[in-house]
Symmetry: C2
Subunit: 345 residues, 2 copies
């Protein structure tokens, strides 16, 4: 694990040391007021057997934004990335040498000011990073598309809150709803806000919908970044790949070059999704994130109703499948694309 | 400090041991997803020199509600209170033997499930309690009433969130605004929600307003418990004392027995407060909480405007002063009232 202490003198010398417990004063602010921010990244083995990270500079930039939002000390994101790369290079033997497998990396910053006074934690902090081998969350052909339970009376994030940042404080408040979803046979929650049932996120992932146009092209919609949505790296990459396809700059397996994918970041409501589905316009619903990459959504439950989406062999619809395969190929270094896959050695 | 571990076998044997660091796996959920809940309590020395807690059963009941909301393991609040009492009895020598001083007690439960998977933390947790000697936050005659900066574009809590529970996750998201308030010469934030500028809380305290009626009686208003407000023990005690006075069941020094205090838990907006102040109806604005007990509020800043409230000698208005003095007298065991002050020995 990587560890870097921060105290009033600044960031101390970084250390890579064996995985072991953290020793912290019980009055450390992280236990009481939760100034805790993190990132999720994945390292893959390239065809050359060397470890690679996927657009890691985006994660480090977001970690810095999260840290500032939580009043934790700022840091140099390029220097932090160098440390993470060094850790990955050293631990590359833990990356499973199998398709769709990687090493999940968790850079974390916690406030460690040893004082129960309620105040910003910009003077004492700990930056640490641990790694865990990770397999695919969704296995085409054997996994069932996700079932989401929509919560009308629970809200993940609010305008003026921290939904657009990766604060640990966004997560525990969602656990009770997650438990209820599991007890009712759903995998995750569909987070909404407002009386118009505006869709925010799918569990801890971004939410996307594919609609068919009469001219044969499709719309790829996802909620706009209005401050309640986490600006996901996978979300951004999916939008960029779809645009590159539509602009003729790349091809996506299984999607005709002539099939334009019109991306739109916009307000999406659950009643709209229900209506598109009833009209037969809705082709696919899926979620994306670092851990899962791309996962199809099969149904959304609300009250006693289940909105059931079109089914596809292997689970993925054609757009989600094409984007997923392309993303994984880039992540695993089998396809080079705009420097997204960054070697660590 | 008091420590009780929870694992899949249940709550382990409690331990009171010397204050020292906690040793925790770096994947513990508290560092990543913030399943952390706490209470603030104060122990006072009674006239007999013995330590007393103020309505501690209310804190333990709220800690249990917070734990359940954060999907931490449940516990027996009466058993937890016995442990806290034992700790206070043992550490009573740390209670400063001076008026308005006490021992601040911080019962805390953190989720310690050692796994970066995002899921409820009902299987591994740590209940610990530390104590810190504490003096008065507001000194009548020498302290300046609080200045609050109202934030229009930031919210502390929202419907469907966790504002009514004492989750650590409610606090760090507020630090950035607290820092801005401090940099602009304010002590804390005034938290509001919605376009109507509905008032929620004063920093980390409950908010109260006293209005004058034409018949000489007064209204004591505080935001209703709509799910965004922490149900404070001091808030509840103030409302109950005011009602007891109005019903003729007790007297409050400095308030005529004939001066009825009409309590109302209701929606209060900042424009209303401004208007009452301009009309000369507004007598006092104050905040309350365990650490501060009762603190007068002197002004509220919003944008470039300061709403300045009536000034009183020593800072407190008559209603806040009477309630504060009575509360402290009960807390310090100088006045017995409905079993609120509970000896620990």
């Amino acid at each position: 694990m990587l560890m870097v202490d921060y105290d009033p003198s600044g960031w101390n010398a970084p250390e890579i040391k064996p995985f072991g417990p953290l020793s912290l004063d019980p009055t450390s602010s992280c236990f009481h007021y939760c100034p805790c921010v993190f990132e999720g990244m994945k390292a893959y083995l390239g065809p050359d057997g060397k470890p690679r990270l996927f657009r890691p500079e985006l994660n480090m930039a977001r970690l810095l934004r999260s840290a500032v939002r939580a009043t934790l000390p700022a840091f140099d994101p390029a220097a932090a990335l160098e440390l993470v790369k060094r850790l990955v290079a050293q631990e590359a033997r833990w990356i499973p040498n199998k398709p769709y497998h990687g090493l999940y990396i968790r850079p974390t910053i916690i406030g460690t000011r040893p004082n129960v006074g309620v105040m910003p934690t910009d003077d004492y902090a700990l930056f640490f990073t641990v790694c865990v081998p990770a397999g695919p969350m969704f296995k085409p052909g054997s996994s069932t598309p996700l079932a989401l339970l929509a919560m009308e009376d629970r809200v993940r994030a609010w305008p003026g809150g921290t939904g657009a940042y990766k604060l640990g404080a966004n997560y525990a408040p969602a656990f009770e709803s997650q438990k209820e979803a599991a007890s009712r046979g759903y995998n995750q929650n569909l987070w909404m806000i407002g009386k118009n049932q505006q869709i925010c996120e799918a569990g801890i992932m971004n939410f996307l919908v594919v609609l068919k146009r009469e001219d044969g092209s499709v719309d790829l919609l996802t909620p706009e970044l209005d401050g309640t949505i986490l600006p996901g790296v996978t979300r951004q990459s999916i939008l960029e790949l779809a645009r590159a396809h539509t602009e003729g700059r790349t091809e996506l397996d299984g999607i005709l070059p002539s099939t334009k994918i019109h991306t739109r970041e916009t307000l999406i409501t659950l009643p709209e999704v229900r209506e598109w589905n009833a009209q037969g316009k809705l082709l696919e619903v899926f979620a994306c994130g670092t851990a899962a990459v791309v996962v199809p959504i099969g149904r959304i439950g609300i009250n006693d109703e289940d909105i059931v989406f079109p089914k596809y062999e292997e689970g993925y619809g054609p757009v989600a499948k094409a984007l997923w395969q392309r993303l994984v190929a880039i992540q695993e270094g089998r396809i080079e694309w705009e420097g997204w896959s960054v070697p660590c050695l």
